[in-house]
């Protein structure tokens, strides 16, 4: 941390290395943080339940715009009955996890970074160490765990609302037959390949990555107001890049 890092490559590499070590510290502290289960529940409320509104509204609109676009394109080929299928597959495999993770980084990741950063800047973390309270177990782990648990749940809500939005546009507005919409979807969408691999695994990984980056940035921020501001920005930038890069890697593995 103290060695002079002269260029962006070594700086980024050092950040990734520090982040990895921090992840190990968090994982090692999980058993110790079980005493602070209530804190984890409070964080789950904060990062999960409080993000529900934005996730639901965005999911609805993503599903609606997908229904609209796909209907338009598929009508060229006379295949509008496949709208439901394509909406479901697009949302389950890609849009659901990725958009939820991006929103989650913006909505919950930033506030976690800012909160921990301010704790650091106002010496609260140092005070915890003085009082023999492990700050990793009390501050970092509950927020990390809350992110890992909340992301898949938020993603499921996003996907359900997305399907509903696609149904709203496709069936209620554009007049695709209701039965065709659902039967084509259920005939094609697969439980393991789409829902389990797409919705669940991806969002668990994204939740872990976003929470790790948010907690790490807050924890290692320089204790100044400028430092907190930079850390918050870096959380969003690093999370977005990590989500999209990991999405490709995960898709390649889970396909």
């Amino acid at each position: 941390m103290s060695a002079p890092r002269d260029n962006i490559v070594t700086r980024s590499l050092a950040q990734i290395g520090d982040c990895g070590l921090f992840l190990l510290q968090i994982l090692a502290a999980i058993p110790r943080s079980l005493r602070h289960a209530r804190e984890t529940v409070r964080q789950l409320w904060f990062v999960g339940a409080m993000s529900l509104i934005i996730i639901m509204v965005c999911g609805l609109f993503v599903g609606m715009v997908l229904g609209l676009q796909l209907y338009d394109v598929l009508s060229i080929f006379g295949g509008t009955s496949a709208t439901g299928t394509v909406v479901a597959i697009a949302i389950y495999r890609e849009l659901g996890p990725v958009v939820t993770a991006l929103l989650f980084a913006g909505r919950a990741g930033t506030s976690v970074t800012a909160e921990i950063g301010l704790m650091r800047a106002t010496d609260q973390i140092a005070a915890m160490e003085m009082m023999a309270v492990d700050p990793i177990a009390y501050v970092a782990v509950p927020r990390f765990l809350a992110g890992v648990i909340a992301m898949p749940l938020l993603c499921c809500v996003f996907c359900a609302l997305g399907i509903f939005g696609g149904h709203l546009v496709g069936v209620s507005w554009l007049g695709i037959d209701n039965g065709t919409f659902w039967s084509n979807m259920t005939a094609t969408v697969d439980l393991v390949k789409d829902v389990l691999n797409g919705v669940l695994w991806k969002s668990v990984v994204f939740g872990g990555v976003v929470s790790l980056i948010a907690v790490f940035q807050g924890y290692t921020t320089p204790p100044t107001s400028e430092g907190v501001a930079y850390a918050t920005t870096r959380t969003v930038v690093a999370s977005s890049i990590a989500i999209l890069a990991l999405d490709f890697v995960l898709t390649a593995f889970l396909m």
Binding site: G48, A49, Y92, L153, L154, M185, L200
Partner: protein
């Protein structure tokens, strides 16, 4: 007991909502919705060709789903596929002499096993075998039959050969039918590029029965249907003299390229009709009034 924090209920609701959404996605929008639970029994069927049939494909009677394909393996030592069908217990009155056929839903749809009831009074038991099966219809074969119906004229009376030159034969190949008035009268013997005249020299083998074709008739390369095979059509002329062996048809019309046709069609046909309620039509009308 310590006081319950205010956020605990909300967090619990959030978790329940998340799992409810997951359950909805998993059971209502995936193929799980189609698989029937409950007891089933297994019957076997041996097919010569299963086409694209997959495991978990539906088994239907009169279009109604009664079970699914459990497993597909190649019969050891034989060139047939052993397909195991898991059929719901409540449909236990399937006659033993029923016929299992592999059908395709729609032109491009998935394949499924259809069972047509026989007349036997004895129902199939668990582990029984459907002895009567019909293999999957290959689309290629069907198209071949359909478009090439009567394609090969009976060659009993011998044939004679005439030549025709085309600037473009499209996908015409040897063996393609030669038709007059839609009736096959022979077949294409060979398609060769002429190295000197730089066009295609096609030899047509025409049945001797049809010896009265005027020698000023025209030959054209046509396509049967949109995606069908190509054939040579003879359009009779008015000359009193008939074609003889080795003659050449002077008037020819080359093949129309499907790409050209579709290109023309798409360019001229786009934008003249919109589906009702489409966004383009509804959003453009108020914009036009301003």
């Amino acid at each position: 007991m310590s006081q319950r924090p205010s956020y605990a209920v909300g967090t619990g609701l959030f978790i329940v909502l998340g799992f409810a959404a997951l359950g909805y996605l998993a059971t209502q929008t995936t193929s799980v919705a189609n698989t029937s639970r409950g007891p089933s029994y297994t019957v076997e069927a041996h097919f010569a060709n299963i086409g694209q049939l997959k495991e978990r494909a539906p088994v239907k009677v009169a279009g109604v789903r009664i079970g699914q394909v459990q497993s597909i393996v190649l019969d050891p030592g034989k060139e047939t596929a052993d397909v195991k069908l898991a059929i719901d217990q409540r449909y236990d009155k399937i006659p033993t002499d029923s016929v299992a056929t592999i059908f395709t839903s729609g032109l491009l749809g998935d394949q499924y096993v259809g069972i047509q009831y026989g007349s036997s009074a004895k129902p199939l038991a668990n582990g029984g075998t459907l002895a009567l099966t019909r293999p999957a219809q290959q689309l290629e074969e069907m198209l071949g039959k359909f478009f090439g119906a009567g394609g090969a004229a009976d060659n009993l009376g011998g044939s004679y050969t005439v030549k025709a030159r085309f600037t473009n034969v499209g996908a015409l190949s040897a063996g393609a039918p030669v038709k007059m008035a839609g009736v096959a009268i022979g077949s294409v013997k060979s398609v060769l590029a002429d190295p000197v005249k730089l066009d295609a020299l096609v030899e047509l083998s025409i049945d001797k029965k049809y010896a009265q074709i005027p020698d000023d008739s025209a030959a054209a390369v046509f396509t049967s249907g949109l995606i069908g095979t190509q054939y040579v059509a003879i359009q009779p002329g008015g000359s009193p003299d008939a074609l003889k062996d080795g003659d050449e048809l002077v008037l020819t019309q080359s093949a129309l390229q499907l790409e050209d046709l579709i290109g023309k069609f798409l360019v001229s046909g786009s934008g003249d009709k919109k589906p009702d309620g489409a966004p383009a039509s509804s959003s453009s009308s108020p914009a036009g009034k301003h």
